[in-house]
């Protein structure tokens, strides 16, 4: 058993394939379907309502996607290791309210420090998840379902009826989601930078690639000498930190933060990752795909409104997209397996 696993474990984000043909590799991209869907959606909508791609329109599209995008990137790290984090909505809520509280308690604190505090706070909450899961060896689904409730409960207990409004925060902080650089809102640029850093980390560094190996086969990864516990814990901490960042940005963008901020987000986040080609049982998918998945989901909402389509259809469409992504993933998986089998048969 150990021998088989060893040969299979590092097989994942096989770089060898990419060298063969540029076009071929583009066509084989897991992200291709979601990119196509996004392009078609935007083209059709813009053709019917030119305002959709006006300066303000693009800005709104990007702003809408920003927070979900960051959350989806974090979730992808966790899902790749064959885990899941359902508590992200609650973490976001806690950090968003925390941000509001920090500004009220210390109005003169530099904004960058507030970002630091928020990210750290999120990382701590993520570490709680990670430690419970790795040290106590308990399934992530159960633990994060539990912390989804607990974190939300703490948020409610802490906030009570208090809400902090845009007026309670420095104008410069709110302006992060108003001002643009080259047409891109500042908070979106932050998100893009995050996606880029995590993407490079996942493909270009040892620990990043370890996550894929862990998700493909945790047992084999352990035998292979990968520090599984530490890596999984890291994935949860990073996810928490990103949810914390999202929480701070939420406070910048929206009017009020309170007890219920961010509730119900978790399924949207998982949906964005799945639509972006991240396999729910780990081992495959990219953060870029997940980020595009998030962009697609939020764009659908805007597109339906812009086209004046009955908004009731929106959720059904999201459901169909998720199912389509799962089916595509399955087909790709079957094909990859067949190819591998042929290749190995030749090797023998």
């Amino acid at each position: 058993m150990s021998l088989d696993s060893k040969s299979a474990a590092p097989a994942h984000p096989a770089p060898g394939h990419q060298r063969r043909s540029a076009l071929g590799s583009v066509l084989k991209l897991r992200e291709l379907p979601v990119i196509l869907a996004l392009v078609i959606l935007v083209t059709v909508t813009a053709a019917l309502n030119p305002l959709f791609l006006s300066e303000q329109g693009i800005k709104d599209l990007l702003l809408n996607a920003t927070i979900l995008m960051i959350l989806a990137v974090g979730q992808t790290l966790v899902i790749i290791t064959r885990n899941i984090d359902l508590s992200v909505g609650s973490i976001l809520g806690l950090v968003a309210f925390g941000t509001g509280s920090v500004f009220v308690a210390a109005p003169n604190l530099p904004i960058i420090a507030v970002f630091g505090i928020g990210i750290l706070f999120g990382a701590v909450l993520g570490a709680v998840n990670g430690l419970l899961i790795t040290v106590a060896k308990v399934p992530a689904l159960v633990i994060t379902l539990g912390t989804l409730y607990i974190f939300r409960g703490i948020n409610n207990a802490w906030a009570g009826g208090t809400q902090y409004f845009a007026g309670d925060r420095p104008e410069a902080f709110g302006n992060l989601s108003v001002d643009t650089i080259l047409g891109f809102p500042v908070i979106t640029l932050i998100a893009v930078v995050v996606v880029a850093i995590v993407a490079v980390y996942m493909l270009g560094t040892r620990p990043g690639r370890d996550l894929y190996a862990i998700g493909s086969d945790p047992e084999a990864a352990r035998l292979f000498g990968i520090p599984v516990t530490r890596r999984v814990l890291m994935a949860f901490v990073v996810n928490g930190a990103l949810a914390g960042l999202a929480g701070v940005l939420y406070a910048s963008r929206f009017n009020s933060v309170g007890a219920t901020t961010g509730s119900g987000l978790e399924l949207d986040v998982v949906a964005a990752a799945v639509v972006g080609g991240v396999a729910i049982f780990g081992g495959s998918g990219t953060v870029v795909g997940a980020a595009i998945g998030a962009l697609l989901l939020t764009t659908i909402t805007s597109a339906l409104t812009a086209l004046r389509v009955d908004k009731f259809w929106q959720q059904a469409i999201v459901g169909i997209l998720i199912l389509a992504a799962v089916v595509i993933d399955r087909i790709a998986g079957v094909r990859a397996a067949r190819k591998l089998r042929i290749a190995e048969a030749r090797n023998v």
């Binding site: 696993s5 064959r82 106590a136 399934p139 459901g319």
Partner: protein, 390 residues
Amino acid sequence: MSDPTGSGTIVHPDGEPSETAAKGRRMTASPGSTRPGTEKRQKPGRRGAADTSTVLAVPKGRTGAARILLGRDAVMIYVLLVVVLYACIVIPRFASPVTVGFLLLDVIPTLLIALPMTLVIISGEIDLSVASIAGLTSALMGVLWQGGMPIALVLVICVLAGLVAGAFNGVLIAYLGLPSLAVTIGTLALFRGLALVVIGDNAVANFPPGLTAFFTSKIGGTGIPTVMVGVVVLIVAFAIVLHFTPFGRGLFALGYSKEAATFVGIDVARSKFLLYLATGTVSALAGIYWTLRYSSARSDNASGLELAVIAAVLLGGVSIFGGKGSIPGVLAGVLLIGTINYALKLDRVSEVVLIIVTGSLLIISVVAPNVAAAIKQARHSRRVRSAPLP
């Protein structure tokens, strides 16, 4: 091919036979296995320490009676008992038939859906779309009734709708082999979306008063809701299917090891398909109950219920990885959350506390047995190590 999770195929393109063999070996290992070390190393990570073989390997010396009295189900029932007695003593007016009535009326939707959910999770799958099916049923019920259809026909159509929704899940998961977590996140959105498409922003409330009154009526002075009769019939039916039929035992085998289940002649796809049919149908019943109890058909009925159901089922001792669990345990889990919920409301404690308590219970319920098992395991291996070699 035989591994519908999709991940195995990518990772183990050639590893199926060996993995089957490995799992088969684990399965046939007797509880008194003298090789705890090897057992542990072969355990794949995603099963975690909740692995049945480990747990069963430990209580070697325990006799039948002790096993029953100290088992996971029994512990849940003790906890439930303690909570109920405590509430009876501490909270004024809790000890009353009125409590029984209101409490049961509140937990019936969770209780209903928890039954098929138990079977689904034991078989190693999950269904997140249950609350959306209930919502879709509710929406459909409202629209059909408003459209002037006789109520009996409406009810039949709604149950059929649940059956179809379940079949849709079932085909994708059992026959196309797609991962159930991803599929049912998709259908969670899809079915809720269809509910919105069907009824939109409207709410339908004018159901026959006789019928809605029946759904909140109680049996005599006992305080037990009349509909509980039907619920009990379902509970018994599911318990018999799970614990006393070959099909039910097959589900444990299925959740424990798909390959081994196939090997001993279980039709994996058919079993799973039937489970999703059951989940869809029972969710529809819960949707109907919800609509008539609150006499309000809306698209957002029962939203979020899926997480409450899963929390209750896991609290009831069902392993999220399949292969372990029981109906009595789940009943105790559902009633425990329901009792705490109602007791806190009666004591006017904020719902905030309830959320935190529910979450903590869930975590403790999975962490505690693992910690206990780890301690026992450590003691056991020390004993084995110190024993003279044969």
